[in-house]
Amino acid sequence: MCLTVNYLPVFVKNLQTEIDFYTSKLGFELLGDGIYHNDNQCKLVKAGDNTIIGIIEDPQSNDGYKSKMLLNTPDLLHDYHQLRLAGIEFMNKPQYSTNGLSAQFADKSGNSYILFEHRNYQD
């Protein structure tokens, strides 16, 4: 068996708001429409590493499915600064850990994103 991931679903309250969030703030590419489970429509966006996210509108899911996504960056301080300029409010300042630097933010639907720069301190 060799299974592959088609796309990763993210549930949002307002589709257009989150499409803007993904494309104009995070710089993802809008691919177009996709079909989610039970013929429900979704919008597909592509990240820089070609990972595809399926944005699914579900206004009822206030307390429902909340995604948590790890976004890799080669230079966190630079992207942290750019995202703040784009209007994203971070939940914390960049924090150092044993394997890199991270900072967390959320979209308007409550899905959270961890911006992460992996650092190999052994090299």
Binding site: L77, H78, H81, Y96, R119, Y121
Partner: protein, 287 residues
């Protein structure tokens, strides 16, 4: 690449590439000096400190020094100078509560005097510095971004300071605080001497003489502060710099052995393998 960026808050970022330099200078503010290739020697009073790519030097405000470069290939040097107000603001943000910061009662006179010595360039400091240099080399002038990096470089410096100075001081078994500080200052002189002269045939007597300690006193206190003997420390520096040369130059390993101060290739290979679990030749192939 040669440039100097003076930010609106008077922080400065400077880059230089030169083969020859002999300048007498005085720092206007706290400065951190790096080199990305080659080495640069600073004479501060009677001390002679050589900065290599794996180390950096802190120079306090109003320190007079002579810096020298004498190399065949251009030495890429890089420095960060922090304005006093920026340092005060940074320190307040680290030690004062949010209430005090908001009410404006936090700002008081803070002395910006740091331990003026060589520190290892490692961990987050190394990553942030590389990123910062990349942006300034590209000509990015976004001052908020540049100041963000400078802020983080200070944060990273404090972490290194804690491991290099504060933790070592706490390991010294002297009850009297001033004795601990003085002994640490002297073993740090020994460390500086080895870092700056690692490629010479240096004797324990020469290290002890530079540190103003007797040989026995040096051996005992150095081991207490650093956890290893001066000889082990010197071997560690030589291996680390050999590793850097293997990775960044085309020099044959036999030549690197002598460049970093080892006399015998076989003992170098044995020590290298024991430390990095790979032979120098295999490391050269994978680097």
């Amino acid at each position: 690449m040669k440039y100097q960026r003076i930010l609106k808050n008077n922080n400065k970022i400077s880059s230089d590439a030169t083969c020859q330099k002999h300048q007498r200078q005085i720092t206007d503010n706290l400065t951190i000096r790096f080199v990305f290739s080659g080495n640069e020697t600073y004479q501060i009073g009677k001390r002679q400190l050589t900065v290599y790519p794996d180390s950096f030097l802190i120079i306090n405000q109003h320190t007079q020094y002579i810096n020298k470069i004498d190399a065949i290939n251009p030495v890429q040097s890089f420095s960060l100078t922090f304005d006093g107000d920026f340092l005060t603001d940074f320190m307040c943000s680290q030690i004062c509560s949010d209430d005090k910061l908001l009410s404006g009662s936090a700002a008081g006179p803070i002395a910006h005097s740091f331990e003026e010595t060589l520190y290892p360039l490692k961990g987050d400091m190394q990553f942030n510095l590389r990123h910062l240099k990349h942006h300034t080399d590209q000509g990015i002038n976004d001052e908020f971004l540049l100041n963000e990096y400078l802020h983080h470089c200070l944060l990273n410096y404090y972490k290194i300071y804690n491991s290099e100075i504060a933790e070592r001081e706490s390991r010294l078994p002297f009850l009297n605080y001033s004795t601990r500080i003085e002994i640490l200052r002297r073993v740090n002189l020994a460390k500086e001497f080895m870092l700056s002269n690692y490629n010479q045939n240096i004797s324990l007597e020469a290290v002890a003489g530079y540190a103003c300690l007797s040989v026995n006193h040096l051996l005992r206190n150095f081991k207490q502060a650093f956890g290893i003997s001066p000889h082990q420390y010197l071997t560690h520096i030589r291996l680390q710099r050999a590793k850097h040369l293997i990775k960044t130059t085309d020099l044959p390993i036999n030549e690197i052995v002598h460049v970093v101060g080892f006399e015998c290739s076989s003992s170098f290979i044995r020590l290298f393998k024991s430390r990095y679990s790979i032979t120098p030749l295999k490391y050269k192939c994978t680097a």
